[in-house]
Symmetry: C2
Amino acid sequence: MFTPMMNSELTITALMRHAERVNGLVEVVSVTADNPRHRYTYRDAFKRVRKLANALSKLGLKQGDTIGTFAWNDYRHLEIYYAVSCSGMVCHTVNPRLFPEQLEYIVNHGKDKWIFVDATMVPLLESLQDKLPDIQGYIVMTDEAHMPDTRLNNALCYETLLAPESEAFDWPELNENTPSALCYTSGTTGNPKGVMYTHRSTLLHCFGSIAADVFALSIKDVALPIVPMFHVNGWGLVYSAPMVGSKLVMPGPKMADGETLCALINEEKITVSAGVPTVWLALMNYLDEHKKSIPTLNRLTVGGAACPFVVYDGLRNRYGVDVQMGWGMTEMNPLGTFNGNCPPALESLSEEEYDHLRLKAGRPVFGVDIKITDADGNDQPWDGVSSGAIKVRGPWIINDYFNYDGETLDDNGWFETGDVGCMDQWGYLQITDRLKDVIKSGGEWISSIELENCAMNHPDVAEAAVVGMPHPKWTERPLLLAVLKDGKTLDKQTLLAWLEDKVAKWWIPEDCLFVDELPHTATGKVSKKDIRAQLKDYQWPE
Amino acid sequence: MFTPMMNSELTITALMRHAERVNGLVEVVSVTADNPRHRYTYRDAFKRVRKLANALSKLGLKQGDTIGTFAWNDYRHLEIYYAVSCSGMVCHTVNPRLFPEQLEYIVNHGKDKWIFVDATMVPLLESLQDKLPDIQGYIVMTDEAHMPDTRLNNALCYETLLAPESEAFDWPELNENTPSALCYTSGTTGNPKGVMYTHRSTLLHCFGSIAADVFALSIKDVALPIVPMFHVNGWGLVYSAPMVGSKLVMPGPKMADGETLCALINEEKITVSAGVPTVWLALMNYLDEHKKSIPTLNRLTVGGAACPFVVYDGLRNRYGVDVQMGWGMTEMNPLGTFNGNCPPALESLSEEEYDHLRLKAGRPVFGVDIKITDADGNDQPWDGVSSGAIKVRGPWIINDYFNYDGETLDDNGWFETGDVGCMDQWGYLQITDRLKDVIKSGGEWISSIELENCAMNHPDVAEAAVVGMPHPKWTERPLLLAVLKDGKTLDKQTLLAWLEDKVAKWWIPEDCLFVDELPHTATGKVSKKDIRAQLKDYQWPE
């Protein structure tokens, strides 16, 4: 058969070889439990990756085996990523913040054989290990001097394990569709579901994410991935930074600590970072309070949740950082849309229109096909207003959850994201709600998120949530719950009146309750499931 | 079987759909033989692509068929690219500047069924058509009003062909390894050889080329591909610009005309361009002579031949354009290395060292694996001095020439590029010669290109060539041929002395001949084959 172009497989192994040869002199800097500032180069890293691959092989682990990690963002976790995936095994990153029952389910369902564990999480695994019967042993990510006294079964020390191994390893030739990593969604309903990435999906996601209109990741950059490596592979930065040769700085367990982040940014000359809004709020508050600046940081990506205007505006206008939204999810490897550079045709927008645009989820990254459908599954126009369920497909979108009985895709082969939004004619996606949180009022949809954002812009409101409550005439109507800032008072009428010129009249909540706090999930999001449970006896006022 | 991530094929059709939906409002501007400034949007373009696909189908053309093009860079050529490739046919772009015998060979060897021809090239094809027995007809790329009176067999008018067709077309679902385009190398020896690109190689090449350290192509950009679409698919810009939403400006037949280029750059606000050195020299000379500036153009890529220092330095320092080298070839789709952003570790270079670095071919684009081997095939170290044959592999590197009896790859599966060079520790490739032109002197290699560049930097030298001539003691020794600038005189000793502090002593040519002109190939390169033929009776001086 005539094969005109080479059948080169898109593997993480190819990425690693490229990084070592071409970007081998670039530094990797980490904060770890046993070292406040560990530094070495990619060349050093990949030497140790080969030592680790030899060690895994001696433990009897084979292609197709799954290895768990309970770890922060640091160089040892990076080494584990490459050694495991390039050995043809699956690197299963576990979010240690989940509830014990979820952790037990995830490790057992993933069929993990060994677990790498950060020294700080040894107590967590000690409390779990009796429920993890198939784990053959634990490798504590530290050196002999810092090895904790532990009752973990078959506990090995990472550095002791690596020490005697050879720096040479003969990597297997892998097909690009070989599974490389496993990550569970922390769904708010039912058991967590496993998403299995492949070498191909990871590589194509890297290609998509480094583009000039997305992360624009460069050999010039110093990248600080604050998003944990247990959240969708750290949004791919631990692959894309070595791929292009960005210096990589990893904050270890210090992920939401404004002081550590500010010091890392200034001392390591960080140019680009990525994380959830709460991290940026913590950083901004620290900068404000201590009158610090972060001049090298020129852009950052906000993902995982909607970005409050104050964070976007404050970091942009007071600290000179372009705040760029990204949207995606575990099932999307994770990147779907990105709000980086704007079309020149939009340069004439007013400041207000421009800010509104930049707070949207962004434009589809090439590789991700998006459609918006109404309740009947019909395509909605890209007119900037017609909202509906957001569906996606593409080479880094899930096809099948791991070991799952249900249907992952819809009848036409699209993945339904569970998000609701609208698209404009330039392909800007605006997320308006989660499908399960959208309020169905008189046949129309009301966005709970938009109402929450408006309410949270009131200077006295600390946090707000809007849920749809059953209504005899309109099916559902919105109910606003607000937590006030310390020492502030506000009445219901004033807060509802605040919304009047900001949303359609029929969107105004029927009622408002002031509460001391809102329930949150393990990942820090407001739990509307718990709110609805707490409100099961609620009655609308007359 | 468990398929964790979607099996989405990497096809030009997927790229086209993305471009139409997400970047559909962006403009495409062309200079054509019948219109000095045609403009429409990508959305308009892809509507016409579907009309053309219907027309091709009505002509009885089927998946796998090859269609030739004799055309410049303009919107109709763009439409043909997409309509042909996305129909599962092969778009065979022919370089009209080749010799008639080569054109005849290429069209027949490629098994072209129909030919699209620019109105300006109708006379060329009239003179060839008797030698092209399998061509069923010719489609002249113009409208009825501009249709030339032609004796081409079965000549159709492009616009008349499209007019009645539907704007709807049901694109076939293609496997990503389907051939998409065919391009022949204009080799200096033997018959031209055909390189067949696939949808996959094209898409992956796009991903590689848009990266921030390569073309950094963005929705913000206005791209002017001056490299012809018959040279390795215009270095992929006709795919990558729609992919990211760059406005595309195409100069038609006016490719090396400084006045047209200057006007296009300023009127269309071009930000990025790409072409061979002669184009940039023409532009720079025009700007110098007419005291013009090109403030919107912030970078350009030079490829196809080494960039003279005067072009790099003049455009950079007098006109504010970053001049970025690229290296590749037809067999590489074409991109192999690119000299864009520099590692921060190199920021401390002196101005001279920096210029030297920026004139190198650049660093490997992720996806292209490079090695340098000595005469025995052993890997050379990446130390910046050890030179050898440059070999490549990767997903957009050729595997097999089309319908070719010889071996395309070496025994280990690498493609030998025919170039000679060295790599430094940062992965910067420096091309020092063509393997067949390198001078083997006393067991060592002397770079003919480096000697030529040194000689051409002499203010009185217009063009220079160095060839290795047989030598009784040293196997070969370099002989310099120089063409002087009008009105200049120079003697042999002075010119050879000029080289003395610039290259190793044993590199200094044994002799120098002043000639009125040098022979060139059809693509404008100096023909060393012809020089050697002219010099067959040459004797070294005593």
